[in-house]
């Protein structure tokens, strides 16, 4: 079975349309989306409606949650005061724009999705705000996959795609109870993978191209797709709809609207 997994569309309709066109050309059986339909970009309602019409199974991203529940991004999500102020401004703009009907639909999105031996989350199984960075401590990373009960965990949130394979996990524990004899416990896990699918609408690889992932469940092959699109259209709409011009400038350079946390050792404790 061939799957396409998308994330972090961030209200960028031309990017989403280009990716859907690319998916059409790859005979995909099923599309999944791991959230962040809105935030920073100029087309929040259009993107939500497109995903709704196509009936794409979607889990809630941190931006989708924040539009429903109110701004809740932890300070650690932002690497600078400037990024935080820009993020807040984008949140307020999006909150005003998204229709009540679309907000109600966002509120129905689950935190995670399961399909066969695959799991889908936005940030991590614990929180849509948590980053699973490629250099994250290997035990923490393994725990996050095990928490889902799946073999492959698809996520987004960092906007930088990667595949991390965790082989030969073997844990040997010696337990000394307060009463009774000490005993040992061993644990082994089969191969587990984390697949970050990048970002459709807010890439961060120095080029404005949209990224998403194709997954073949039989061969277990992951293909990262990079799709050019008319980002100038999105930039024009950013300016015309009253978002800060710097968002357009950064998007055109593949720099993201506001940068996100980069410290792989950091695990949000909230």
């Amino acid at each position: 079975m061939k799957l396409a997994v998308l994330s972090c569309i961030h209200a960028n309709l031309p990017a989403l349309e280009a990716v859907l066109l690319d998916i059409d050309q790859h005979q995909v059986d099923q599309i999944f989306c791991v959230g962040d339909l809105v935030g920073y970009g100029p087309h929040p309602n259009e993107v939500i409606e497109k995903i709704r019409v196509l009936g794409i199974p979607t889990c809630a991203g941190c931006w989708d949650e924040d539009v429903v529940d109110g701004h809740n991004a932890c300070e650690c999500s932002y690497p600078s005061v400037l990024a935080e102020k820009r993020g807040l401004l984008a949140h307020e703009w999006t909150n005003q724009q998204v229709s009540q009907d679309n907000k109600d639909w966002l509120a129905t999105l689950p935190h995670s999705l399961k399909f066969e031996n695959l799991a889908f989350v936005h940030g991590s199984p614990h929180s849509a705000h948590e980053y699973l960075l490629p250099g994250m401590n290997v035990f923490v990373a393994l725990e996050r996959v095990l928490a889902t009960g799946a073999d492959v965990l698809f996520c987004g949130h960092t906007h930088v795609p990667y595949v991390r394979t965790l082989h030969d996990a073997h844990l040997h524990l010696k337990v000394t109870p307060s009463a009774g004899d000490p005993y040992t416990h061993t644990f082994t896990a089969p191969v587990k993978r984390i697949v970050n699918v990048g970002s459709v609408g807010e890439p961060r690889h120095g080029r404005p191209n949209a990224t998403y992932v194709l997954y073949d469940s039989e061969s277990e092959e992951v293909t990262l797709r990079e799709v050019p699109y008319a980002f100038q259209r999105t930039c024009m709409d950013i300016l015309e709809r009253g978002l800060p011009p710097i968002f357009a400038w950064r998007l055109a350079r593949g720099l993201e609207y506001a940068e996100k946390a980069e410290d792989p050792a950091h695990v949000c404790t909230r």
Partner: protein, 260 residues
């Protein structure tokens, strides 16, 4: 030092006027007065030089009376004349004195006619052709303390043209650790980053907002001044965050983990 008591130096932005002045000051042992003509009330170079050379007295625009008083004492005077000032304008202040004019240009042979009035023409840094319709944007930022990560993003955006075409940028920025740093950029030369900035030799300021001068000056074209002001504002720390930072730095100094 040049042969006259009053030396005026001029040349295009980024050519090396301040660098030349620094060379003169390195040789001077006695007090010298520095006056930046055309810098307005934003003495970025003056503050930078004043910190580096304790025997330098820095005067800014508006202090012309004091300047004349200093001349009468016979103290050597170095005047940095901004590119946008016509040397003739300097006559109003220095007309009655014997002045020595130094022109700095990327190509003294090519520019000899333009600098006919100069007593000495010195080769400087290569610069891009001067902007046809330059725009000068200045922000006095005294009291503002920058979030370092935000300054890094902002400086990068600025130099890459996010707020318009930048020909020259320089500034003094207060940091939460209580230090002040100086950074600059000239179009055509290497793009600078925070790692290139100089830490000024001033005492650490860790009690509230620093009252010593800091500011930013940008020479360019089509500058989006609204977005610039907003970005600068968004990069600076609130009272609460600044107090929290300063408390943490104080603790590190008290425990000896950070030098005072």
């Amino acid at each position: 030092m040049p042969p006259s008591q009053i030396t005026l130096v001029t040349g295009p932005p980024g050519v090396g006027k301040t660098t030349w002045i620094r060379q003169q000051l390195n040789q001077a042992r006695d007090p010298v007065v520095y006056f930046a003509a055309g810098a307005g009330s934003l003495p970025i170079d003056g503050m930078h030089l004043g910190v580096e050379f304790p025997h330098l007295k820095v005067l800014i625009e508006g202090q012309e009376q004091e300047l004349l008083g200093q001349i009468k004492t016979g103290i050597p005077l170095l005047v940095e004349v901004a590119f946008h000032l016509d040397p003739v304008q300097m006559q109003q202040i220095f007309g009655e004195f014997d002045c020595y004019w130094v022109g700095i240009t990327p190509d003294p042979e090519l520019d000899a006619e333009t600098y006919l009035w100069a007593d000495e023409l010195i080769p400087g840094q290569a610069t891009l052709p001067p902007l046809k319709t330059p725009q000068l944007w200045r922000a006095s930022l005294t009291g503002q303390v920058w979030d370092p990560a935000s300054l890094e993003v902002f400086w990068d955006e600025l130099l890459l043209g996010a707020y318009g075409e930048v020909y020259r940028a320089k500034g003094i920025f207060e940091m939460p650790e209580g230090q002040a740093i100086y950074g600059e950029f000239t179009a055509g030369s290497r793009r600078t980053s925070l790692e290139d900035f100089d830490v000024l030799n001033v005492p650490r300021h860790l009690k509230g907002r620093p009252q010593r001068f800091s500011g930013l000056e940008i020479l360019g074209r089509n500058l989006d001044t609204g977005s610039l002001s907003q970005a600068v504002q968004d990069c600076c720390l609130s009272d609460a965050v600044l107090m929290d930072y300063q408390r943490q730095i104080q603790e590190l100094i008290e425990t000896g983990e950070l030098a005072a």
